[in-house]
């Protein structure tokens, strides 16, 4: 069980690190001491990540909510609350456990083997409600009521509490921007002190900020009891050993309250349970599908929905194969006619786009012709499934190779100070046909498998 838990925690740390990179992907900001001002900043990110952070690619939902409330911008409030609500109803505090950048900081600090670890402090029972008080007073009321000389409210939580703004916004900007360094005053010292207290607290205590302070966690926690992603406990399997309660960083009695408002869905309880008594709604869904599939018997029905769907899949892959080949021929022709900037660029196009594109495009094409030659509907329907899966894998490989091939272009554009978000957007547009085929193909194969299972 310990190995399973360790593997799970490694996976979670990787997910958190990737999310941190996603939230703070504006690399130019880190190096030049400025922040992104692209249109992407109008869109909220799911985790608590200060929009004044030099790497921030999106807007912090709590900062945005205060911005809407202090300017009495009704539509901004609707937009931000709608965003938080949709995420909350779909996955609850899963964001806190797997996505939030400041959650990663706290988790990493808690791993430092210095102090004797504690899961909660005295008065936890009452202190856990402090985050709701902070939400109501500092995020909602004060920004609306207390107006400055210009008649506009201020973001009180960001100004006086948020440690993320100090850690990921204030410190990097002050280090890299000389003009900001001269403007440091009492507020910065106060916020630095608060940050140090929270960071030191995180070494001793699991997630103190999430437990007692975070207003975003408070909003998501309101959705936890009704969210789509939830935990279930099988009382027949549970032996009441208490392992889940001992491992829970939020100090929850998991067996009695698996969907507590405090639960950050880290999944430690599920992985420490030796009897697999705790499961997530996602796992339950997969298990149900597998159970149905294992009971199914195979029969060939040439007129059935299964074959109709697989015909569509076959045609999509046939068209995709042709499309991939043509796209790569066009890339090569474009390079030849336009004149490559240098020999390295020519080789890159030739190897990564043309050769891999042709291989990935031709293989499914040959398979498709083989199926046509041996009868469009093979006797064993598994052929359709295998064909689709192989084609999907090849297309995914092609997509990965495309991105690898474009890494050099990203580097060149980054050197020219082009916004990373714009680069990624261009990459997405270039690779959109492949992505679309993979998504549609995956959906159809899944649909077909489910149909097969139900039968």
């Amino acid at each position: 069980m310990k190995n399973k838990l360790r593997e799970h925690e490694t996976l979670r740390t990787i997910a958190q690190a990737l999310s941190f990179a996603f939230h703070n992907g504006y690399i130019s900001g880190w190096t030049h001491g400025k922040i992104s001002n692209g249109t992407n900043k109008g869109f909220c990110v799911p985790g608590l990540n200060c929009y004044s952070c030099p790497g921030a690619v999106g807007a912090c939902p709590i900062g945005s909510l205060q911005a809407g409330l202090n300017g009495f911008e009704f539509k901004a409030v609707l937009y931000v609350l709608g965003f938080i609500g949709i995420i909350g109803i779909l996955c609850g505090r899963l964001v806190c456990g797997w996505i939030c950048p400041f959650g990663l900081v706290q988790d990493l600090l808690y791993k430092i083997p210095v102090f004797k670890k504690k899961k909660s402090i005295k008065g936890h029972k009452y202190l856990k409600y402090l985050k709701y008080v902070i939400l109501v007073i500092f995020v909602i009321l004060l920004p609306m009521i207390v107006l400055n000389k210009g008649g506009v409210g201020e973001p009180w939580f960001c100004e006086w509490i948020c440690p993320d703004g100090t850690l990921l916004g204030g410190i990097p900007l002050v280090i890299s921007n000389e003009s900001l360094r001269t403007a440091i005053g009492g507020r910065f010292i106060f916020k630095m002190t608060l940050l140090i207290v929270i960071l030191l607290g995180s070494v001793k205590l699991a997630r103190p900020f999430c437990k007692y302070i975070c207003p975003l966690g408070a909003l998501y926690s309101l959705c936890n009891p009704v969210s789509k992603y939830r935990f279930n406990v099988d009382n027949d399997k549970c032996v009441h050993c208490g392992a889940c309660k001992n491992v829970c960083p939020m100090d929850i009695d998991v067996i009695h309250n698996p969907n507590s408002m405090e639960c950050i869905r880290c999944g430690k309880c599920m992985n420490v349970c030796s009897n697999a008594a705790i499961s997530s709604s996602w796992e339950d869904f997969l298990k149900k599908s597998d159970k149905k599939e294992s009971n199914c018997s195979f029969s060939v029905d040439k007129r059935g929905i299964r074959n109709t769907i697989m015909r569509i899949v076959s045609v999509i892959f046939f068209l995709a194969s042709i499309g991939v080949i043509f796209k790569n021929i066009l890339f090569l022709l474009n390079g030849i006619l336009g004149g490559f900037p240098d020999i390295a660029a020519a080789l890159r196009v030739l190897i990564l786009w043309f050769v891999t594109g042709i291989i990935v495009g031709i293989v499914p094409l040959i398979m498709w012709f083989d199926i046509v030659k041996n009868g469009f509907i093979p006797e064993n329907s598994n052929d359709y499934y295998n064909f689709s899966v192989i084609s999907l894998k090849l297309l995914i490989a092609k997509l990965i190779l495309d991105f690898v091939g474009n890494a050099f272009s990203i580097y060149c554009l980054y050197r020219e100070n082009v916004n990373v978000f714009n680069i990624l957007r261009s990459l997405f547009i270039v690779n959109f046909p492949d992505i679309a085929v993979i998504v549609i193909g995956s959906f159809l194969v899944t649909l077909w498998r489910r149909r097969k299972a139900l039968k």
């Binding site: 609707l78 949709i86 703004g165 002050v174 009891p225």
Partner: protein
């Protein structure tokens, strides 16, 4: 709360939030952008 009730509440809330998000997205994004595209001095502890 039983599972059926929870599903109904969850679906109703999801519809409400989707409607709020849809209703606010145009001007809301512009407002958020105006705030988020410039450094908030107070937020980083300066000023």
């Amino acid at each position: 709360m039983n599972n059926g009730k929870r599903k109904v509440i969850s679906a109703i809330l999801l519809i409400i939030f989707l409607a709020a998000f849809g209703g606010g997205i145009g001007d809301g994004v512009t407002t958020v952008y105006e705030k988020a595209a410039a450094i908030c001095m107070e937020c980083i502890g300066i000023g």
